[in-house]
Amino acid sequence: MAETRYTKDHEYIRIEGDTGTVGITDYAQGQLGDVVFVELPTVGKAVAKGGEAAVVESVKAASEVYAPVSGEVVAVNSDLEAAPGTVNEDPAGKGWFVKLKLTDAAELEGLMSEAQYQDYVKTL
């Protein structure tokens, strides 16, 4: 049963077993505008919670995608390199960035639920 959690920096992580799929939210892609470039980490890289997992660029902005929790990169969505617009079209689906193998599932506790995140976005 997949469960999705959110950060204040607008990353999501969808948990399936001991791995999580990380991407940016629909709100985030809307704020960035047309995504033109995505820089992905190498598979095998260890990232700490809050550390840089990827970079996403629009025409006029560049942002880091931070790891919502600590883990090892087990897969990257290299389709984005040729088709960065997927992040705009389907952020929660085909527009994912990396898959992490979680090192500390307890870190998920600090993240927002879907409902909490939607409330948070309303305050912005």
Binding site: D34, V36, F37, E57, V59, K60, P84, G85
Partner: protein, 524 residues
Amino acid sequence: MLNRQGRPTTPGHTAAESHPTFTGNRALQQIEPLIFEIGHHETTGVDLDAPAPFKARLGKHARTDGIGLPGLSEPEAMRHYVRLSQKNYGIDTGLFPLGSCTMKHNARLNEKMARLPGFSDVHPLQPLSTVAGALAVMQELARYLMTLTGMPAVSLSPKAGAHGELCGMMAIKAAIAAKGEGETRKVVLVPESAHGTNPATAALIGFIVKSVPARADGTVAVEDVKALLGPDVAAIMLTNPNTCGIFEPQIVEIAAAMHEAGAYFYCDGANYNAIVGKAKPGDLGVDAMHINLHKTFSTPHGGGGPGSGPVVLSERLAPYAPVPFIHLENGEPRLIETIADAPDGNAPFGRITAFHGQMGMYVRALTYMLSHGSDGMKQASEDAVLNANYIRAGLSDLMSLPFPDHPSMHEALFDDEWLKGTGVTTLDFAKAMIDEGYHPMTVYFPLVVHGAMLVEPTESESKASLDLFIATLRDLAMAAKGNDKSRFTGAPHHAPLRRLDETRAARQPVLKWVAPLPIAEAAE
């Protein structure tokens, strides 16, 4: 004898018609192909006789293939570039209120002086005995800059404003290292409202950038700076007047706090043009400040350069100025070109460019200074400030001011609060100004203000010009509020091109012309 053949002499019914043309041209607006689509590989616009046969000394390095570039005959080249120029907006075209960039009049006397063979046709490495006049220009420019800023030293080397920042921050780093604090003082404070060059410069030479929050009134508070100070802080980089167009009211206190903490005050001088002759950075506690000669002293922007960014330095930083620099010996300027040659008391941190900086820009800036004089430069600052505040007064009932509590200096900052709910964005508003014959103001900068519009008219505008500009912006503002969206969202309608697809440019970068494939190959 009547010979009119019925020729109409009034536009009559033609007025409302628009027709596509065969060429796609619109009278003076001509579509111009790339040189690669016009020229031929065998064509040249430069005649030069072939040399008599000789024995080459290129060894095995002689080029064997063609370069692959076409040439144009002189008439073709002339027409190509004249047509391109007609697609550009310049200061000479109209009001160019680009905040932070200072698009003031570029006097042609300055161009004429820079082209005197005694300046333009002099080599940086010819014997120093043959360049006394060039050294005199550098010395005279330095004297003006030091007198105006109240600072004891200046490095003329920097090639542009950002290069000046680099030079100033290198001097600070050298001074810190000389005190044995190179390993401890690593942090540079930069306000959120700063130009992007400030954090980029500090990071480039290994400093850690810490952000200073802006107060609700658009200024930096001395308490906020003090809260960040400690033995790890090297310097603050503060723009004054700041990027919101406000003179930092606590600048003297901030400088004192930095000095007390053993740190330095780098002032970004991009907006120095507001206070020339009105206040001296040296009196405000500044340790280093670059001066954009292409802003404050009117050397032309030239579509993005060349710039020139001399840095004035305080007593504490003066010894660390890079080579080359001018040293006065018995009243005569001497050029110090190497660290070994530096007089006692100097410890240059190195060299930042091959030769002596932007001589061509020095000549133009000095010509500006001589023309204006001390009285004219003060008047120019006052007029620049007066013009900005006059525009602000003429628009503040329609457009919102994020920081109404401070007078503006040389530029007036508006935000997009007043556009809320209209469906018109800052960008749309800017593009509609193009249709009205104006260059847009700076938009979306500074970042601390939402949908920023930064208007800098400079001292070069007459009152009549400002009045028409205000009337135009009022008309546009009322149209935006009156739901006349079509005037904005499709704008510009009358420019050489409509809005461009920047997403496509970035997703599939095409950065040079590539010859199209022959049809047969392309079909494969």
